[in-house]
């Protein structure tokens, strides 16, 4: 019995070692440990083993079974590893091939700048409000203290739908609508399109975008206006930005001002002595004219306020160094993909 088992073990291990690939190994496996395999059948029935040999034969039988299983398994793993190697070699990749790039869409540069600006003012407690682009001349001109014979009202400068209806020429019209429907204090910005009767060229467009800001409360001063707009400039262009306020004229603010930013050939310039530096006016602003407050029924002795209007195209031009306003509306994807 003992000899039979040892011989069987030796034959089985030799057969396993002789297998040349996974398929022949499988044949060997079936011949050895299949239902009718040599090892399966060759294992002794322990009842038939004399009592004094039971222990030795049991040990040998276990060793035979486990040894064959292990040999089959390690041989299989070896064949599989070889096969994998071969498969890998056959499917090797050129990792220098370009990646498959997902192409999420790009925001329009005006939206990028607008969202930045909105976020800055949201931080100052401003709400974002909306107003119509097709506007009554009362809200666009009259209530903003723009006199009946002011050139802005002229049909050479503004688009009219009919005698009383105009495409708004500035977002300031929203000031009036908001104050008419809300009690002070007021703290709003109003972004949107405005229209002027200008032919389109590299610096002009009949359509452009503004963001209007309005703050009305007790005790609001020109110093507060300067404070908020400096904060805006720093928020948009960084801490080093150089800004200045100089007097200007708008019918609906008094005193009126413009804010200029010191710019170099490639956007913001942080060196006040840079010979290439130039001032670029980026927004108009001022204290809300008491007449405007009176026109909406606010007590202009009790309340004061400031307003500003900033051109989005201008901000984007300054921020990104864009040189032609038409690019904003041509929507060449090679343009918007740059931001």
């Amino acid at each position: 019995m003992e000899e039979t088992l040892l011989r069987l073990e030796a034959e089985a291990l030799a057969a396993i070692a002789a297998a040349t690939d996974l398929a022949s190994l499988e044949e060997v496996r079936i011949k050895l440990v299949g239902k009718k395999g040599a090892v399966t059948l060759g294992l002794p029935n322990m009842r038939d083993v004399p009592a004094d040999q039971k222990r030795l034969v049991g040990q040998l039988a276990n060793r035979l079974r486990q040894g064959v299983e292990e040999a089959l398994s390690s041989r299989r793993l070896a064949f599989e590893a070889t096969a994998r190697e071969a498969a890998r070699a056959a499917t090797s990749l050129d990792l220098s091939l370009p990646g498959r790039v997902p192409t999420p869409g790009r925001r329009h540069p005006l939206t990028l700048v607008l969202h930045e600006l909105v976020d800055i003012f949201a931080g100052f407690g401003f709400q974002v409000v909306d107003g119509p682009e097709v506007e009554l001349s009362y809200y666009n001109f009259t209530a903003l203290a723009i006199p009946e014979d002011h050139p802005a009202r002229d049909d050479r400068d503004s688009f009219y739908i009919n005698q009383d209806v105009v495409l708004r020429t500035e977002t300031s019209a929203v000031q009036v609508r908001y104050m008419e429907t809300h009690e002070p204090p007021v703290r709003i910005i109003a972004p949107g399109r405005v229209y002027r009767r200008d032919a389109v060229d590299s610096t002009h467009s009949h359509t452009f975008h503004q963001v209007e800001g309005l703050l009305v409360d007790r005790g609001v001063s020109f110093a507060d206006l300067k404070g908020i707009l400096y904060a805006l400039a720093r928020g948009l262009f960084g801490e080093g930005v150089i800004a200045r306020f100089t007097p200007d004229y708008f019918p609906f603010t008094e005193p009126s001002a413009q804010m200029g930013i010191w710019r170099g050939p490639n956007g913001i310039c942080t060196d006040p002595k840079d010979p290439a530096g130039r001032w670029l006016e980026i927004l108009g602003c001022g204290m809300v004219d008491p007449q405007v407050l009176a026109n909406v029924g606010y007590d202009s002795e009790e309340y004061t306020g400031f307003a500003f209007g900033v051109g989005l195209e201008r901000l984007a031009i300054l921020k990104y160094g864009i040189d032609d306003i038409r690019l904003f509306f041509e929507n060449d994807l090679r343009f918007s993909g740059q931001f």
């Binding site: 869409g105 682009e133 097709v134 008419e180 009767r197 507060d224 007097p247």
Partner: protein
């Protein structure tokens, strides 16, 4: 306004370089556009830009005043010495009648006789050249010179041609006159004329008439220095296309106290330069208010308005420097503002003058004032940003196109609605036919953008725009209603104000090509895939906004391929459309590949959106998954099959997903195959195979009976 520094120093001492002067002027609110060497005259010259409220700065003297005020100097006023000839009196030679004192509040004239016209002296010519003028002859040059020097436009008439009478009146309707430039002008009641009592001799404040023009034969001239109503002069100049140095100044208001000084100065120069004799006396017909305007300034108000702490004396000092008379008492300044500054009417105007002279840069700056309200975006505004993020994530690039368009541009896209019928907003005074009305759909401009990009070989071209569309013009909405709705009229805060039309916040999109540009081994999407991607992108938005229950129906529209377009409806409200662009339309835009468009009413969606987000616990029980493939008659829409499946599967059905649609070989004619995944889950326990099998059996029976569907083997 050009400012030659050599000339400016006639009136004010200057110890600054041109650069420094430019800085000073900018800080005062005078724009400086250019700095050059003065032609003719030599020396530096600043080209300044004057805001429309500051007509007083449109002269060298006005500029000198401003510079003097800011530098603490005094102004040297010209003080012309006129040697009048007692033998000749203007009153004997001329009478002036002003019929419309509103349009002509002052009309003054002087007579200079015995002139010898010819070229002006060189110094005078040089100064005019510096101002960008071509010297003509001494008579014209002197009037121009005085205008640049003092700001008062003057006119010289040949006294012999003028006769003995001047009548200032409105033109009659249809009246004709020939202006200096030889043009025949058709006039209306809106134009003010200087006449010789019968015929027009000048278009007041704008241009002289050909018939009364001075020439080399002129010996006697009548010099006119008048004050005309600015807005009327501006309108006339614009209407006739005759904008001149004179009308430019009148439009911005000239000091009504200036005419006599200007006449004396011009008369003196004519006597000096053209050998004339000045007749004695001046004709001066006036209705204008010539006294300075009194205004009170409260020192405390000024400081609180500016956020400053200026003393009463500082404020008074600034105002006096401007030439205003100021009395100080108890924190109140009583200010007399001369007539050359009609822009200073109220206390707040004085506050601006104080701020200007103090320097905006020198005023304090305070941090943004605190507030109780949180500010920021509303839920709906935040949601709109979220929608934009989703669209960007889906590979759509944001575009912004003009709202102004034209009927042919709309029709090119197949949008052939009658602009009048839909209440389109048509411009009364379009600048060009291309931009003549406001769009009522974003689709035409999206088509243009796709076309333009494809022409540049850019691919994919996947776009979205959030923009307004305009329709429903209400012609009954007028300024009158706005006035009536004002708090000033009603005494209360309005809840809504009149709107002239409907402006919808609209989302449009265009898809051409896939959102991945790996660059190699990619296949172009089929039109069908792309169409359902377009639909799917809108479905993504609807899901994000928690809007369900919209009905989708076929949408025949000229812009879309027949049978390949649909619309979302909520009741009888059209929410949006999507579809494959018709080949004919694509050809018009030279678009070579399948293109899908969608357009939805984003404003309405955001209004309907549910912005609440509430957590629901993740399921703890295992799910049971089943697939089913059905052969369904072609006429049964997938939504009907899905509805039957959902209701028949019972309440344990968690999700139903269509994963395969097939038409073709191996199926009975007139049918297609639809295959679904079904996921079942019980909230409290594990479902047995038997239970799920029962559900599936119910599903099969229901689709067979209700949809005519068969289980596909």
């Amino acid at each position: 306004m050009r400012v030659p520094l050599k000339w400016l120093t006639d009136y004010v001492d200057l110890d600054r370089s041109a650069d420094e002067l430019a800085e000073l002027l900018i800080d005062l609110g005078v724009g400086v556009e250019e700095q050059l060497t003065a032609p003719g005259l030599g020396g530096d010259l600043l080209v300044t830009e004057i805001t429309p409220n500051r007509g007083d700065l449109l002269s060298l003297l006005g500029m000198a005043r401003e510079v003097a005020a800011a530098t603490g100097r005094t102004v040297r006023l010209p003080a012309p010495q006129v040697a009048e000839d007692p033998a000749v009196r203007i009153a004997d030679r001329l009478t002036v009648r002003v019929e419309d004192p509103e349009l002509c509040p002052r009309y003054a004239a002087r007579l200079v006789t015995g002139l010898t016209p010819g070229p002006s002296p060189q110094w005078l010519q040089d100064r005019l050249v510096a101002m960008g003028q071509r010297p003509i002859d001494v008579l014209v040059d002197v009037t121009n010179y005085v205008m640049f020097e003092l700001g008062q436009p003057l006119h010289a008439f040949d006294a012999a041609k003028l006769g003995d009478t001047v009548v200032v009146r409105r033109a009659t309707e249809g009246e004709l006159m020939v202006t200096l430039d030889g043009q025949k002008r058709h006039l209306t009641r809106e134009q003010l004329l200087i006449t010789d009592g019968h015929e027009p001799v000048a278009l007041a404040g704008v241009m002289g008439g050909l018939d009364s023009e001075c020439s080399s034969a002129t010996r006697d001239v009548v010099l006119e220095a008048a004050h005309f109503y600015g807005p009327n002069i501006r309108r006339t100049a614009r209407r006739l296309g005759l904008e001149s140095e004179s009308s430019y100044r009148f439009a911005r208001t000239v000091d009504p106290n200036l005419p006599l000084l200007a006449l004396d100065r011009a008369a003196q120069l004519l006597a000096e330069c053209a050998g004339g004799t000045v007749a004695s006396g001046v004709i001066d017909v006036k209705a204008a208010a010539l006294a300075p305007r009194p205004i009170t300034l409260r020192v405390r108000r000024c400081n609180s308005f500016l956020g400053a702490a200026l003393s009463s004396a500082q404020m008074a000092g600034y105002l006096r420097a401007l030439g205003f008379e100021v009395g100080e008492a108890d924190g109140i300044l009583q200010v007399l503002v001369p007539t050359r500054r009609p822009d200073i009417e109220r206390e707040v105007d004085l506050i601006e003058e104080v701020a200007r002279l103090h320097g905006y840069q020198n005023l304090p700056l305070t941090p943004p004032p605190a507030t109780q309200s949180a500010g920021g975006l509303t839920d709906s505004q935040r949601l709109e940003r979220r929608v934009r993020e989703l669209l960007l994530g889906a590979g759509l690039n944001e575009v912004q196109t003009f709202s102004l368009t034209s009927a042919p541009a709309m029709a090119k896209a197949g949008l052939v609605a009658d602009p009048l019928e839909i209440g389109a907003l048509v411009l009364q005074n379009a600048l060009s036919a291309e931009f003549a009305m406001l769009r009522w759909s974003l689709l035409p401009s999206l088509l243009e953008v796709v076309s333009r990009n494809q022409a540049q070989h850019t691919e994919p071209v996947r776009l979205f725009e959030v923009g307004r569309t305009y329709a429903g013009l209400d012609v009954t909405v007028t300024d009158q209603q706005a006035r009536a709705a004002s708090r000033v009229s009603t005494g209360q805060t309005a809840s809504s104000l009149p709107l002239p039309c409907t402006e919808e916040r609209t989302l449009g999109g265009a898809l051409l090509g896939r959102a991945v540009c790996g660059g190699w081994n990619t296949t172009p999407p089929t039109a069908e895939e792309l169409l359902f991607e377009a639909k799917g992108i809108v479905e993504l938005v609807l899901t994000e906004l928690r809007i369900s229950g919209l009905r989708v129906e076929p949408r025949p529209e000229a812009v879309f391929e027949p049978g390949r377009a649909g619309a979302w409806w909520h009741g009888d409200q059209l929410v949006g459309v999507f579809g494959e662009v018709a080949v004919e339309v694509r050809q018009r835009y030279d678009i070579r590949e399948p293109l899908m468009l969608f357009e939805v009413n984003l404003g309405w969606l955001l209004q309907q959106a549910d912005t609440r987000r509430v957590f629901s616990a993740l399921p703890r029980q295992p799910a049971a998954l089943r697939d089913i493939a059905l052969t369904v008659p072609l006429e049964v829409p997938s939504t009907a099959v899905a509805a039957v499946l959902t209701s028949a599967a019972g309440s344990w059905l968690e999700e139903l997903r269509l994963f395969d649609v097939y038409r073709g070989k191996g199926l009975p004619a007139g049918t297609r195959s639809l295959a679904y995944n079904l996921r079942f889950r019980h909230p409290q326990r594990t479902l047995t195979d038997g239970e799920v099998d029962e559900c599936m059996a119910a599903v099969v029976t229901a689709v067979r009976e209700q949809c005519g569907a068969a289980l596909r083997e």
